[in-house]
């Protein structure tokens, strides 16, 4: 499902990933761990083709970075859901509008959208908060809204880049549990974190990155 082959990417200011090879199988729930600046976000961005490798190649759901074009990128992203540390919610729109956004991109009809949004909000425990603006919600709730937006299109792959970075331990734990629930539906999940205590002992593969180099599994 996700394959990295000798991938190198260097940012102008340094960091990035170096000669990285990795395979994540379909339906796998794995963690990516490493300190800040270790290349976790770069790796994530390479998966959704926000960055293209300087060397090597990345293959996601059959799409290869070697043959990637600007036109193809939206197609790949349609089956990838993303959760970010800073939520990336739209603060001038309510929760309903935020969560419904991917469905509009996919061209769902206005009649189908409300039910699906309700379903997604219910799954993340935000039912009844449809018309709240993001800044009326707590950090944990905003992150769950972000998760609802990511899963509403039923993606094959869910990427969570430090989703617990701004959350307290309880909210962080709840979020991981929520991701595990989503994983049960068959979604491939890759979650980046620097909090080892949060992910240890879950029986999931853990990939460790340090200075852009994959240290082990």
């Amino acid at each position: 499902m996700i394959e990295f082959q000798n991938v190198t990417y260097a940012h102008q200011k340094g960091n990035g990933v170096n000669n990285l090879s990795l395979t994540i199988e379909e339906g796998e729930f794995s963690f990516l761990i490493g300190p800040t600046g270790s290349g976790k976000t770069t790796l994530m961005r390479l998966i959704y083709f926000d960055l293209l490798p300087d060397a090597g190649w990345v293959k996601v759901n059959g799409f290869s970075s070697k043959k990637m074009t600007k036109r193809k990128i939206p197609k790949v992203r349609k089956f990838i859901g993303m959760v970010f540390q800073d939520y990336k919610l739209l603060y001038d729109r309510n929760l309903f509008e935020n969560v419904a956004l991917p469905l509009h991109v996919l061209g769902y009809s206005g009649r189908e959208i409300p039910d699906r949004v309700e379903e997604a909000l219910e799954l993340v425990g935000l039912e009844g908060k449809d018309y709240h603006l993001p800044n009326e919600l707590s950090g944990g709730e905003q992150q769950r809204a972000c998760l609802a937006r990511a899963i509403i299109k039923e993606p094959d792959i869910l990427l969570a880049d430090e989703p617990t970075g701004n959350l307290d331990p309880v909210a962080s734990f709840e979020l991981v549990r929520l991701l595990e629930t989503i994983h049960e539906t068959g979604t491939t999940i890759l979650m980046a974190s620097h909090n080892y205590n949060l992910i240890k002992g879950r029986g999931r593969p853990i990939y460790e990155l340090k200075d852009g180099i994959l240290r082990g599994r």
Binding site: D50, R71, P74, K88, L101, V105, K153
Partner: protein
């Protein structure tokens, strides 16, 4: 279809969400369009103002002393055939006495015992032509009639006015061009600012998998709406201005000029706005999404 409906709604909502930016753009664009509309209306009414000036052109033709009233009628028919002449009215010897009496209060017959005033004619020039009328060839042709003694013409000042008026009118298209360019910049910058202020939305949409066209369309619709509202406001404003000017002309001058507002001017403006907003918005949105 669902996407198009959603994006159109988003474009409309965006105008409301960013009311202040939209309001500023609408007002700026309105002013630009209003000026262009006024220039176009002025240009369209040029012939009416010229008609007014031309109505002041009067050529007085004095025939030789021995020309009788009957012979003068024939000569006047000849004058009427000259290109640019609208009417020619005979002033018979007897009429001349009356006019003299009206102007000087004396009966020349009582003073001299005979009528020394010749038969004359008042020649009016054509008013309807949109091109300036060249008076000199007309005068030259009248003078070439050998039974004509003298031609008097006081149109030099009017000719100067007409020439200067033309000179100004001829510059209108350039001025309009500059204003249209400014209007393009207004739309371009408004949309660009709007795009920049919503870079987070754009980023979110890109991450979700939206195509560039999906991202651009609401901005294009937003720009188009701003243009549409501005041009809708320009219509009554131009109509009102023309009516206002006519009111002033009618009540405070004796010029007798009545300007008209041709809706075609507005249709042109509207088409112009459509083109400006579509190009301006598309380019502004594209420049950010490169």
């Amino acid at each position: 279809m669902n996407k198009f409906f959603y994006l159109t709604t988003e474009g409309i909502k965006n105008v409301w969400r960013h009311k202040m930016t939209a309001f500023t753009a609408i007002i700026s664009l309105f002013i630009a369009l209003f000026i262009v509309g006024l220039l176009a209306t002025a240009g369209d009414n040029t012939h009416k103002v010229l008609q007014y000036f031309r109505s002041k052109y009067k050529i007085e033709v004095f025939f030789k002393q021995d020309v009788s009233n009957e012979e003068a009628v024939g000569l006047i028919h000849r004058i009427k055939t000259i290109k640019g002449v609208r009417t020619a009215t005979i002033i018979e010897k007897e009429d001349a006495i009356r006019i003299f009496k009206d102007q000087f209060g004396e009966d020349i017959m009582d003073i001299l015992g005979y009528n020394p005033l010749p038969v004359s004619a008042v020649v009016n020039l054509s008013r309807t032509s949109r091109d300036p009328i060249r008076v000199e060839p007309i005068i030259k042709e009248i003078r070439s009639i050998d039974r004509v003694e003298e031609v008097r013409y006081q149109g030099n000042l009017i000719k100067k006015i007409e020439r200067n008026y033309r000179r100004i009118i001829d510059r209108f298209p350039y001025l309009a061009g500059v204003i249209i360019f400014v209007a393009v910049l207004i739309i371009y910058n408004t949309v660009k600012l709007s795009v920049y202020s919503r870079r987070e939305l754009i980023r979110s949409l890109q991450i979700i998998g939206a195509t560039n066209m999906f991202i651009k369309l609401p901005f294009i619709i937003e720009g188009f709406l701003i243009g549409l509202i501005s041009s809708a406001l320009v219509f009554p404003a131009l109509l009102g201005s023309v009516k206002g000017i006519n009111y002033i002309f009618t009540n405070f001058t004796s010029w007798g000029i009545r300007l008209t507002f041709d809706p075609v001017v507005w249709i042109w403006l509207f088409s112009l706005v459509v083109v400006i907003t579509l190009i301006g918005s598309y380019r502004a949105a594209s420049s950010f999404l490169k």
